[in-house]
Symmetry: C2
Subunit: 283 residues, 2 copies
């Protein structure tokens, strides 16, 4: 195929893996999609929904593809890739859709046999919803997809992956793995951590009070419904950056705390105005 | 009028005051709505939009109403009420829609002349959007409205106000002012404070990075676009409860921080699961 790949294996058919499968089919970027997973019932259902064309629980069979997409939770990328290594054929491209890049890219690049090309990506299209039931072909349209090449990345594989994402409707952006992790610790991982802590503050004080929550609480904690497996892995793999952001965030909380203790109303107002102005840039 | 009030003065025609005006008209709960404010241009526009029937910049004129609704930012309730005191007539009912109740109710109750009845309320229908341009008659339908009677509250005035809100479609709930403030510090004021701090963490680290924010960041910080005047007043008037919630929240952050330092992945997962489970109760 000129722009796409003949056969694509999706390792982990969830929201992102499933949506990519649907997008590739819709844009004729793959002839055949193989779904790999541990739960046959789930894979059968994905097949029935037309998300994948066939499924397997054999990594060997999954490696019979031109493109392999790692779309499980981050924490098992290394283990799965290690198990695939002996089956990988020259010319195969492997990519991942993990939310942390430096540790992932480093480890996976080291595992690649000669002539097998790894390209790390992160589609910014996650959700608190998980599972292929929420998958849709248009998920990536207008979304950012960050691609994180290194000096080891094969130029031609990089180009093919970038083209693939562009064809799904995504805006492709390139940065180094470490740049990616620093940025997404701030704009994604920290807000998730904060959101979990907000809900658990209610749990600690009196969980029955949750029923009084209005739309403000609901919005700030929507992402607290995200997958525990996924997010524990993300925090663990980007811990240094997340802890740094948490430090700055805690400093901001301390600033407001001091203003409230000292009853510095004008400073509180200015603090809120600063937040409001920057937030409005997003709309 | 059997269920409503002949003339209603709205002191501060914004999102809440404007929406209440529209709801009262739609449900035939008021014959005439007077808008009071400082900005004539704004009041003219509200008049043109049919939100109010007439307007005035004279508190004396605004006091020619059976019901007076305080709907300005919290911080000026006391000043405005003090200025109205000499004009208030026996039998008038005064209510407010402020997001903090104990300090407001205490202060306003003390200001009430003999035979003028104060009832504190808090419609849980605020938004990051402000101004009567966003007002709508149906804003309160299905929303909670908390009414905070005290031992000083006149039973008949309380009943009239409760009936009024019920007729707008709201679910009326009664609690003491201090109970209200303790609960809303947790489920509303803390999330707002956290949201402002999240955006200002980006401001401190590198404000250009805001462009990488996805839907998670957008949701958690939507309420950071709320009014600085309104929220500075809310924090100042409910400072003790807010600071207490902030303490518990900071403890939760510290817990996660320790888990990340110690690489306790299973504990992190459990922490997220706890949040996810409680948050799901809201849907």
């Amino acid at each position: 195929m000129e722009d796409g790949f003949k056969t694509v294996s999706i390792i982990g058919v969830g929201l992102i893996g499933g949506s990519l499968a649907l997008a590739l089919k819709e844009k004729s970027l793959a002839d055949k999609i193989i779904g790999y997973g541990r739960n046959e019932e789930r894979l059968k259902k994905a097949l029935k929904l037309g998300i994948i064309d066939t499924y397997t629980d054999s990594l060997k069979e999954a490696c019979e593809a031109e493109l392999i997409v790692l779309a499980t939770p981050l924490g098992v990328f290394e283990k799965i890739t290690s198990e695939m290594v002996s089956y990988l054929k020259r010319g195969t491209v492997i990519t991942d859709v993990g939310s942390v890049k430096e540790e992932v890219v480093n480890k996976l690049e080291r595992l690649m046999p000669q002539g097998v090309y790894f390209v790390g990506t992160h589609p910014i299209a996650g959700s608190d919803r998980t599972g292929f039931e929420h998958a849709k072909a248009h998920l990536f349209e207008g979304s950012k997809v960050v691609i994180t090449p290194t000096e080891k990345t094969d130029k031609s594989a990089l180009e093919r992956i970038a083209k693939l994402w562009t064809k799904t409707g995504a805006q492709v952006e390139f940065m180094t793995p470490s740049e990616h992790d620093r940025i997404y610790a701030l704009v994604s991982h920290l807000p998730h951590l904060v959101s979990f802590c907000l809900v658990n503050t209610v749990a600690e004080m009196d969980k029955n009070l949750i029923k009084y929550a209005g739309s403000g609480f609901k919005d700030t904690t929507r992402i607290a419904k995200s997958s525990p497996e996924l997010w524990a892995d993300i925090f663990a793999m980007n811990d240094k950056n997340v802890l740094h952001c948490l430090e700055i965030f805690t400093k901001k909380l301390e600033e407001v705390k001091q203003m409230l203790y000292r009853k510095e109303l004008e400073r509180v107002k200015k603090f809120i105005e600063e937040a409001k102005n920057l937030r409005q840039e997003l709309d």
